[in-house]
């Protein structure tokens, strides 16, 4: 079974982003970029399926500017076999990403598609579900355990009240939650090897998909700042403040 994994290039999760002074966007100049943490988990899951003899090939896809190839190389170093870069310098909204991925799915015919549940830049949490709708495949979102059983995949999902288990017919789409696995680090020899693994570049035009805007960003502003608080010396003072100053207890 072929497994397709999507990886998005995003701001490093440790970096606190700032809004540009003209409120047009956030400032990503000279900011450290990395693979979206949920996509790292997706790659790890696919590589483990291959190591377990369940997956035969792991193909990674990223969409965006040329620099996405860095993250694709990282995924190859982590154990993916081959990469596809859909190159575009335009803003790719989730629906467009899903339409482009739909074409890749049609070409590649994977048995399983693993994606992150959420990109930590847009915080959209929607691309996997959209791809599932466009392909007509079932979806196991927010997965904390994935088990292939013949023609089905059983997915344990993290939901508000606890955990839910669903069984999906393959091909299916899984989106990863944080506890699915702990991603490995790439070893130096594997980083070297990854440089020689195949990486194919295509454009939205090659795939026959129009990059369309469904939304317009009017402005981007900083969130309301909290005003600095105080330190209290002891529990008694804390309880007094909560009762008499803040009046919340």
């Amino acid at each position: 079974m072929k497994v397709l994994v999507t990886v998005k290039r995003v701001i490093d999760y440790n970096v606190k982003v700032r809004v540009k002074s003209d409120n047009s966007d956030v400032d990503l100049n000279n900011v450290k970029m990395a693979m979206n943490p949920f996509c790292e988990i997706a790659v790890e899951e696919a590589v483990r399926l291959k190591e377990a003899g369940v997956a035969t090939e792991v193909v990674v896809v990223s969409l965006g500017s040329k620099s996405c190839q860095e993250q694709l190389r990282t995924a190859l170093a982590l154990g993916a076999d081959r990469a596809i870069h859909i190159e575009s310098d335009e803003v790719l909204e989730s629906l467009t990403v899903a339409k482009l991925l739909q074409k890749v799915v049609a070409d590649e015919q994977p048995g399983l598609i693993i994606m992150g549940k959420q990109a930590i830049d847009t915080d959209n949490n929607q691309t996997g579900q959209m791809l599932a709708a466009l392909t007509g495949y079932p979806q196991g979102t927010f997965a904390s355990k994935v088990t292939i059983e013949g023609d089905n995949v059983q997915v344990i999902r993290e939901v508000d009240g606890g955990l839910q288990t669903v069984s999906l017919t393959l091909p299916a789409i899984v989106t990863t939650d944080l506890r699915l696995n702990e991603p490995r680090y790439a070893s130096l020899p594997n980083i070297m090897k990854a440089k020689r693994k195949p990486l194919e570049v295509k454009t939205p035009a090659d795939l026959g998909v129009e990059v369309k805007a469904h939304t317009r960003v009017v402005k981007v502003t900083p969130p309301a700042e909290r005003k600095a608080g105080i330190k209290v010396a002891c529990v008694e003072e804390l309880v007094d403040k909560l009762k008499n100053e803040a009046k919340v207890i």
Binding site: Q129, F142, C234, L242
Partner: protein, 309 residues
């Protein structure tokens, strides 16, 4: 055109998150309908009909919708939703699961986790873990929206008088099946709607020590939350995680115990009215958002706090 709100429920009770979504919907337009899709869920439709501001309830009572599997319910919502200007759902794990599927079926964008309605087509939503707020205008004819419940007051559960209309549309994609669920039962208030939340982090040391904050929670009628580190370490179950990728809370009082205050944790609680931090490291970033900080060993001060309440 009217606005369709998708009810969050468990086939017997309408979940409070729906009330926040109704408030958001009333800010987009005046005619608000609610769809209750489930199995044996007439009682939910009756509760929805009582919600202030709702003019019509649609009831899709069918075995295929019992567990709100995304593959099936999205087909129903996309079919009914064609005749609405907005389709709105609370951003719970259930709404987040099926709603983007609805958007794709309708060939429109989803605007995720809005916290403000600027106009019928323009909304504010946090991005980058809440470190920026994007004002986004929809260019689509149908606006598909998930609502961050902390951004909107709850509509009154009483006072409405909507009629209930049954819709007999049965969609079964036949590609997915519900196997089971492990739902954590608790007598405490729900995290996302509690007035007071007390959360523990890695500093708690182990799961047993959470009893210390549970005792405080009992005195305050509070919900108990956790940082991801505490969940990952197995101290407490995943549904207690507060943060960018867990639950978003904005109670009147949030007490963070043994939590350092990583960006991802702050994203889930920094809109709380009053924040208290208890941490033995005075440099911990949590103190930058805390109204009242107590630099102390939690094992000394949390039991004392409980006694004083």
């Amino acid at each position: 055109m009217a606005i369709l709100v998708i009810a969050e429920h468990d086939n017997s009770t309408l979940k409070a998150a729906t009330l926040n979504a109704v408030t958001a919907a009333t800010q987009m337009g005046s005619d608000v309908h609610v769809l209750v899709a489930g199995a044996g869920c007439l009682a939910v439709a009756e509760q929805a009909a009582n919600v202030q501001g709702v003019s019509q309830v649609l009831l899709a009572d069918d075995a295929t919708y019992e567990h709100q599997l995304a593959e099936n319910i999205s087909l129903l919502i996309a079919e009914l939703g064609k005749d609405y200007s907005h389709i709105v759902v609370p951003a719970t794990t259930s709404g987040k699961n099926f709603m983007p599927r609805v958007a794709a079926l309708l060939d429109v964008a989803q605007i995720s986790e809005i916290v403000r309605v600027d106009s019928a087509d323009t909304f504010d939503r946090p991005i980058y873990a809440g470190n920026a707020i994007a004002t986004v205008q929809s260019l689509d004819a149908i606006k598909v929206i998930t609502v961050r419940t902390t951004g909107f007051d709850a509509a009154s559960a009483e006072g409405g008088n909507a009629s209930i209309q049954s819709v007999s549309v049965s969609h079964n994609a036949g590609t997915s099946a519900y196997v089971g669920a492990q739902i954590v039962k608790s007598d405490r208030p729900e995290l996302t709607s509690a007035r007071v939340v007390i959360s523990g982090g890695r500093g708690m040391g182990n799961g047993e020590n959470f009893a210390l904050i549970e005792k405080v929670a009992d005195k305050l009628g509070a919900a108990v939350g956790a940082s991801r580190a505490a969940v990952d370490a197995g101290f407490v179950p995943n549904d207690m995680q507060v943060g960018q990728t867990g639950k978003i809370v904005a109670p009147d009082l949030y007490i963070a115990v043994g939590i350092s205050g990583a960006i991802q944790h702050l994203a889930g609680m920094k809109d709380s009215k009053v924040i208290v931090a208890i941490n033995k490291d005075e440099e911990a970033p949590i103190f930058q958002v805390a109204d009242y900080g107590l630099v102390a060993d939690l094992f000394d001060v949390v039991p004392k706090l409980e006694q004083l309440l």
